[in-house]
Amino acid sequence: QDKSSDAQSAKVPKNVQITLIPGLTTDPFYITMNRGAQLAAKALGITVNFQGAEEFDPVLQTPVLDAVIARHPDAILIAPTDTTQLVDPLKRASDAGIPVVTLDTYIGDGKYQDGSGDGDFPLSYIASDNELGGRVAARAMAKRIGDKGKVYVAHLRPGVSTMDQREKGFKEELKQNHPNIEVLPTQYNDNDASRAASQFQAVLARNPDIKGVFGANLFSAIGAANGVAAANKSDDVTVIGFDAPPSIVNDIKSGKIDATIAQHPAEIGYYGVMTAYAILAGQSVPTKIGTGFTVLDSDNVTDDAVQKFIYSE
């Protein structure tokens, strides 16, 4: 289609249509990311469509991506569901002349536009590094449990790449810098908060001295927190969450969750759209834009300064 070439020559792109493909459509993290993207779209006077699959999985994301490519938007913003498996499908977008920007995570080796590797073609990625997020969570955990004791990761399902990265970062940070913390096996709950709760209680029954849980996504965190509360262990066991939707924030306020690692999905979405627009306007963009993390806990959760990091639902 000539729309994109028109846009490139005009430098001030008109009628821009960008599609944002999240990892899955029903997660507050991505919903918030979309909110940020829409904010940018409004500011620029362009359209951002939100299209995605119901589960975080390459085999579901790829057909969505294919259909989006067929519609030929001016640019694609995508939160790829796997670093290697999305390379070939995204290549098709790039081959069709659609600029690709990845959000939340990278594909290939994560080094874009350096002339090497399979996943070299995306123009930029904007993310808070999930592995780093895991490390931040590990530090927050270590601080609260006094640098020793048993902890484990409550995880949704093996193979969800962003969560695998968080788990990895969490474990590595503890191994390297907090050797007195023992990491018990990860527990998978298939995104069922009820199972996450019962899993905590089973781990507790086995390890009465358990000190902390890292709930690596929304349902893992609120589930584990519920298990802790049901066992009357809120004072003894530290629960660290990931992401900052209101239900986690509420649990922080009520003391069920001690802290959570807020990514900045709205920022990611906002910068994503801005970056894509800049590309369409013919400007050069950095291949990597990092957004930070904010640790929310009972000390700062009511501060005005952090309210903007609380996700929408």
Binding site: P185, Q187, N191, S194, R195, A197, S198, A205, R206, A230
Partner: protein, 332 residues
């Protein structure tokens, strides 16, 4: 398959073999705990509470489903009638302000049950009046309820702060978690319906032969409507309990539990072809699932091995049930 199971289905007896199997699992884990861990597995209040609560969450989805399966049908939409109800309840409670009280909680409950009932009515209408096969009809409403829940919520989760709701999901009475009491009361009700009422007899007969019930002068369409409403409403109750427990109405609340709920019904002795199954069986099925999930985590088995172990126990649970039939002498 024209499965001819010799045992009379309607004998309202406890299924001794399944209880035994459940007991064996418990004893196994207890011995393991005493010898390997030097701790008790079961004789600790919060372990029992945890298992009961987890089992309740499965059971609530499985209760109405049991009746549907006995009638020879299936209801996949419970995966999301549950979430739809949860979201509607949370929204109604939110309408009353974030720190609202008991009345608005009751209104939320009623609205949630109503939301579930609507899904059930649609299912019943499709299956009874439009003759859509239940697998497809309820798969359709699965999608519809899912979309509706997400749209109504404007996202996946509606968090609330309501103390009545919190107690509803997390409170205990004499040490028994409220979710377990709610599930227990509903299970009693469903057991009564299935074994002691005309409706229950017709449900069994429907599973064996629709013609037998139709020609006997039963309004089968009405019967099917009620069945699917019942199924959606018990699933909705599961969603409401979930909302209470986690102070959040999640559209996806029921989806991960669907497979376990269906498994509980089948472990409990129901069959794809209909005509058999009991509420007691489903209760045991839910407990078995909750116990092995708990026990395997407790045992410290590596997570990937837990998937295998759960699979094995599910199979063994049914093989045990089969051998009972073999001993009682029936065969094809």
């Amino acid at each position: 398959m024209a499965n001819t199971n010799g045992a009379s289905v309607l004998k309202p007896l406890l299924n001794a073999w399944s209880w035994l199997f459940l007991a064996i699992i418990l004893i196994f884990f207890e011995i393991y705990a005493q010898t390997e861990v030097g701790a008790t597995f079961l004789f600790r209040v919060y372990s029992i509470q945890a298992i009961l609560t987890a089992a309740s969450q499965i059971l609530l989805l499985a209760l109405g489903l049991t009746l549907v399966v006995v009638a020879g049908h299936i209801d996949l939409s419970i995966a999301f009638s549950s979430g739809f109800a949860a979201v509607v309840m949370a929204l109604v409670i939110r309408l009353g302000g974030m720190d609202s009280g008991f009345l608005i909680f009751l209104a939320g409950l009623a609205a949630g049950i109503g939301a579930g009932a609507i899904v059930g009515l649609v299912n019943g209408w499709l299956i009874a009046h439009i003759n859509v096969p239940s697998f497809i009809g309820t798969l359709g409403t699965y999608g519809i309820a899912r979309g509706a829940a997400l749209i109504v919520a404007g996202g996946a989760v509606v968090s609330i702060q309501n103390d009545s709701a919190r107690v509803f999901g997390n409170g205990t009475v004499a040490g028994v978690p409220l979710p377990a009491i709610i599930a227990g009361v509903l299970a009693l009700f469903c057991h009564y319906v299935l074994t002691h009422t005309k409706f229950g007899v017709h449900t069994y007969a429907l599973g064996a032969s629709r013609a037998s019930v139709e020609r006997a002068g039963v309004d089968v369409k009405r019967h099917l409507m009620i069945l699917f409403v019942l199924s959606a409403v018990t699933a909705a109750a599961g969603g409401l309990v979930y909302t209470g427990r986690f102070s959040a109405g999640a559209a996806n609340a029921g989806e991960p539990i669907l497979l376990y709920a269906v498994a509980a019904v089948f472990i409990g002795g129901a069959s794809l072809t209909g005509g058999q199954g009991t509420i007691i069986g489903t209760v045991i099925g839910s407990l078995i699932i909750a116990v092995i999930q708990f026990g395997l985590v407790f045992s410290g088995l590596p997570p990937y091995w837990q998937f295998i172990a759960v699979g094995l126990v599910i199979i063994v649970a049914v093989v045990v049930d089969q051998s009972r039939d073999r001993f009682s002498g029936s065969q094809t």
